[in-house]
């Protein structure tokens, strides 16, 4: 088996294993919240880290790696969604862990995730990057290669739509 621990980003000083450990949640979650399918999300996440491994020497600082991972994950997720849409595949949300006691919050979260997954692609990714990664519109614009105004407009529309579907009135 390949010794991936030896692979190291020269600039970041982090080895590949450490990078996987550090960023797997972020990468997986981005893909999962977008595709609403755990298996597909894991496939995308593995692809992203595979690509990272073979481009590790080109990586710079930890900030650059994080930006790169988010950008590649966003693009791959969008590509996967389009591919699945063409093939008529429908995302299947895995059932929650039966051992955990269901609570209202969990159901609300599940409902919101479903609503997010129903948004148009660009709005969906903007929302995920905003609320999962806590990114500002300017950061989202850089990741998605669109203007800040477009990001703001997408976020606004997405939130309106989500509130309507969730039956929530915006607080004045």
């Amino acid at each position: 088996m390949a010794s991936t621990s030896v692979a190291e980003s020269a600039a970041s000083g982090m080895n590949f294993e450490e990078l996987v450990e550090t960023h797997q949640a972020m990468v997986f979650s981005l893909a999962y919240h977008f595709l609403h399918d755990r298996a597909a999300a894991e496939e995308v996440a593995q692809d992203v880290f595979l690509q990272l491994y073979f481009h590790l020497e080109e990586m710079g600082s930890p900030v650059h790696i994080l930006f790169w991972l988010r950008k590649v994950t966003a693009n791959r997720s969008i590509d996967e969604a389009r591919r699945r849409h063409r093939r008529g595949e429908v995302g299947i949300e895995a059932a929650g862990d039966p051992a955990s006691s269901p609570d209202t919050d969990q159901w609300v979260n599940l409902r919101l995730r479903r609503l997010v997954a129903s948004l148009p692609e660009r709005q969906r990714m903007a929302i995920i990057l905003r609320y999962q990664e806590d990114l500002e519109p300017v950061e989202i614009a850089a990741l998605l290669d669109i203007s800040v105004n477009t990001v703001k407009s997408q976020l606004q529309r997405a939130l309106i739509l989500l509130r309507e579907k969730a039956g929530v009135e915006k607080r004045a």
Binding site: A2, E17, S29, R38, L112, V116, L159, R171
Partner: protein, 103 residues
């Protein structure tokens, strides 16, 4: 952020993938590395253009050479035909001359 947005943050919080994710990534890397990688020459982009040009050049040179060969063959054949014609003409002229001398 309003409560809805706070709820959005909770709904979209990060989650870990299934246990053993790192190992699965390692396995895929191992599989990938076992496959012979295509030799990508650093100068491949240039080669993309050089090769078709070279092929065209070879075709042009071959056609030019063959055209030259064909012309040479035709020229040599024409030369031989000239010799045949002039020799026949000469022979018959001599025949005529010999008849005139006889008389």
């Amino acid at each position: 952020m309003d409560p809805f947005e706070e709820q959005m943050k909770k709904a979209l919080r990060r989650e870990l993938p299934r246990a053993g994710f790192a190992a699965r990534v390692r396995r895929r890397i191992a599989v990938q590395e076992e496959r012979p990688r295509r030799a990508v020459w650093p100068w491949f982009p240039a080669l993309r253009w050089v090769l078709p040009i070279l092929v065209c050049l070879v075709i042009v040179v071959t056609l030019w050479y063959r055209q030259g060969k064909v012309e040479r063959a035709r020229g040599e054949a024409a030369k031989q035909q000239v010799y045949v014609a002039l020799r026949l003409a000469g022979a018959k002229m001599q025949l005529a001359q010999s008849k005139v001398r006889q008389f």
